[in-house]
Amino acid sequence: MKTILQIDHLSKTYAGGKKAVDDLSLRVCEGDIYGFIGQNGAGKTTTLRAVTGILPFDTGEIRIDGMSVKEQPVACKAITAYIPDNPDLYEYLTGIQYLNYIGDIFGVEKTLRRERIEKYAEMFRIKDDLGSLIGAYSHGMKQKLAVIAALLHAPRLMVLDEPFVGLDPEAAFKLKQVFREMCEAGSAIFFSTHVLDVAEKLCNKIAIIKNGKLIADGETDAVRGDESLEEVFMEVLESHEK
């Protein structure tokens, strides 16, 4: 399997002195749905932001599809989609204006753009609201719009921070379906979550992070063994506290 995301010895210390990520390395390959779990403040969001090129890091290397995030940031971003935990969309735009803007930025061809917007807008039941201002959307609708915008350019790597928060059960189910379809087509998903049930059922690989350090990672079945992911998570955290 080809490696889509390669993180080697990533470290990041914030200007205030806090070491958020400490020598973290992992690989996400084609077809992987990779769950990234950890407590609040463990360094998940910092890692995701570094991967997407938003946050400069101190040491280490991040490569997307073989390209360095530091050396070729624009090329890396062109094949990546990022959905933050609380997407701050432009509220003065309508849904369709926002999608057109994202389509223009990523250079998505018009016919393809229309096709994908219709497909995903129908799938997430938001088609009728695309003409309305984003400011009038509920949190879940904004999340759905961010997901559609992220899918518009068919990214090779999708990076998501808590993607299921705010989505209704139907939308969450459909998003999981989309994840699987994308992975079958050769893309990869790397997402953080606190919902261990979702990670257990959806992800083929899992990484657990604590205080910026990776304390467990690998195939979900191998990490979990005979126990539930919740039990393993608690055990791993406790063993690293001792």
Binding site: A15, G17, T52, G53, L55, P56, V74, P84, Y92, D104
Partner: protein, 524 residues
């Protein structure tokens, strides 16, 4: 594929003034609010045009019309410099949509250019009603000249670049240096004002030293005046009076400054953003931190806490207040008699005795955090609106910082002014009373206007704090009232201020009554 900086600029422009929102909104209130905004802006534009026409006609009558375009360019550049310094680097860095734009496949230079383009366009929109009517008057009175038109047009289009680049670069440096300090917001404001005063002094000293030998005829005096206002505008003035290369030097310097700024800022964009986003390390909790108090005092404390942690809010609060303090300090070392020592006829100090309150009005109007306090709640406003408190109490708490900041500074300035200008008891009394009455009016009208014209969907708090409609109205009204009182005060000092005070108190009472009738604060 379209230029990505153009796409980013387009999206940002769509958010300005709420026109796109009004176009797609089904809410009649939003449409009315945007129409009101447009009408106010149009009115301000018309007033600026009228003032410039009056000024330009007088200028041309004196036979010095050739210097007029350069002086107008100098004035607009100076205003760009002042506003860019006050806005600081938050217009480029530490924006709310930073994560979003940085995750897009666009170059950092494209992001910077798109943001600078928005600031540039805003400055050009301000420069046009100043330069166009002035130039038309010049052509009507002194005759049309294609070369003057070309020079003025080129100078106008290039004029915002240099002051924008210099001001944003300086304020970025300042902000990055103070980012980790606990009182960073206050330090940034104080340093920004000192920076501005320093730039003005440097400009004055340079232009005086270079022109001291020529200051004998009117033309040389007005060239010097252009240089005093904004030194690079001397290059435009030189071209208008015969030295052709001046305009090319002006355009070259302006474009080079902007290009250099984009180049350097693009290299350290993320680092600067990170430095600006850093918060000073917190203090550990102790049981003594648990205190009790009334709901109103809790709201007021929160407003003050917010004042010193949100730079946009603080900028709005302290600019005029600090100007009053600096003016009071400067007055202590100034002999008012020396100002008129070289006048042909003796000028009695009593003529200006009532000007103190007018100057205070002007500065107090610039310090009105109440005019943006509600808008700055942004998306978190629901936390405030669900509180089990009357709307009036919430709104009044937001008006308190304006009153509390302005009254001591205004009174201090007034006391020094009255002492220095040796005013009589009646003038003392009305000056001090006027400062208190106007501060009260500003605080109440600020929160009233913000209640009527809120803007919650901002991406940068400074935009709300400096460029929103309530703030513009407050600044404009206090400028008009301040200047009006200064001019009319020479004629009937006491009565003019008494009338202004009665008007302020009557309007304050009206606002108080209005606020009492608001049942609840709505999310819309």
């Amino acid at each position: 594929m379209k230029n990505k900086w153009l796409l980013l600029t387009k999206i940002q422009l769509m958010g300005l003034l709420g026109f796109n929102k009004a176009r797609h909104s089904k809410d009649a209130k939003t449409v009315r609010r945007t129409a009101g905004t447009a009408a106010i802006l149009l009115l301000v534009g018309v007033i600026i045009c009228a003032y410039v026409v009056f000024f330009a006609v007088e200028f041309c009558k004196q036979g010095i019309g050739a210097h007029l375009p350069a002086l107008l360019i100098a004035l607009t550049s100076l205003i760009t410099l002042v506003f860019s310094l006050i806005q600081g680097c938050s217009v480029l860095f530490a924006m709310k949509d930073y994560d979003h734009v940085m995750s897009l496949p666009v170059k950092r230079s494209d992001i910077l250019i798109s943001r600078l383009a928005c600031i540039y366009l805003a400055n050009i929109v301000f420069a046009l009603p100043v330069v166009i009517p002035g130039t038309i008057v010049l052509f009507v009175m002194d005759g049309f000249s294609l070369s003057v038109l070309g020079i003025t047009l080129a100078a106008t289009l290039f004029s915002p670049l240099l002051p924008m680049a210099v001001a944003i670069a300086l304020s970025t440096l300042l902000t990055a240096l103070t980012a980790r300090l606990r009182c960073k917001n206050i330090l940034q404001i104080v340093f920004s004002i000192l920076l501005f005063v320093g730039l003005m002094i440097a400009s004055f000293s340079l232009s005086f030293s270079s022109s001291s030998q020529e200051a004998i005829d009117m033309n040389a005096v007005f060239s010097m005046m252009v240089g005093n206002v904004y030194l690079p505008a001397l290059l435009v003035d030189m071209t208008l009076t015969g030295t052709v290369w001046g305009i090319f030097a002006f355009m070259g310097i302006s474009a080079a400054a902007a290009a250099l700024f984009v180049l350097i800022a693009a290299l350290c964009f993320e680092r600067v953003h990170e430095a600006l986003s850093v918060r000073a390390s917190g203090v550990k909790y102790s049981a003594q931190n648990v205190r009790g108090g009334s709901a109103f005092s809790a709201l007021v404390k929160r407003e003050f806490k917010r004042l010193f942690t949100a730079s946009g809010y603080l900028l709005n609060a302290l600019a005029g207040t600090l100007m009053l303090l600096i003016a009071a300090g400067a007055l202590l070392f100034l002999d008012p008699n020396a100002l008129f020592a070289q006048a042909e006829e003796p000028v009695p100090l009593s003529m200006f005795a009532y000007a103190g309150a007018g100057v205070a009005f002007f500065c107090i109007g610039m310090s009105n955090p109440a005019a943006s306090a509600l808008s700055l709640e942004g998306k978190s406003r629901e936390q405030l609106f669900v509180l089990p408190l009357p709307a009036k109490r919430i709104l009044l708490a937001k008006a308190v910082p304006t009153f509390v900041c302005n009254v001591p500074a205004g009174l201090l300035f007034s006391v020094v002014f009255c002492l220095k200008f040796e005013t009589d008891a009646l003038c003392w009394a009305i000056t001090l009373f006027s400062v208190v009455a106007f501060s009260l009016f500003c605080a109440l009208s600020g929160i009233f206007l913000n209640y009527k014209f809120p803007k919650y969907d901002w991406t940068n708090p400074t935009m709300v704090a400096k460029n929103s409609i309530p703030v513009m109205i407050c600044v404009f009204v206090s400028m008009a009232l301040g200047f009006g009182c200064i001019f009319l005060g020479v004629w009937k000092g006491f009565w003019v201020y008494l009338a202004a005070d009665i008007l302020c108190i009557a309007l304050s009472v009206a606002v108080w009554v209005y606020l009492s009738r608001i049942k609840t604060l709505s999310m819309e």
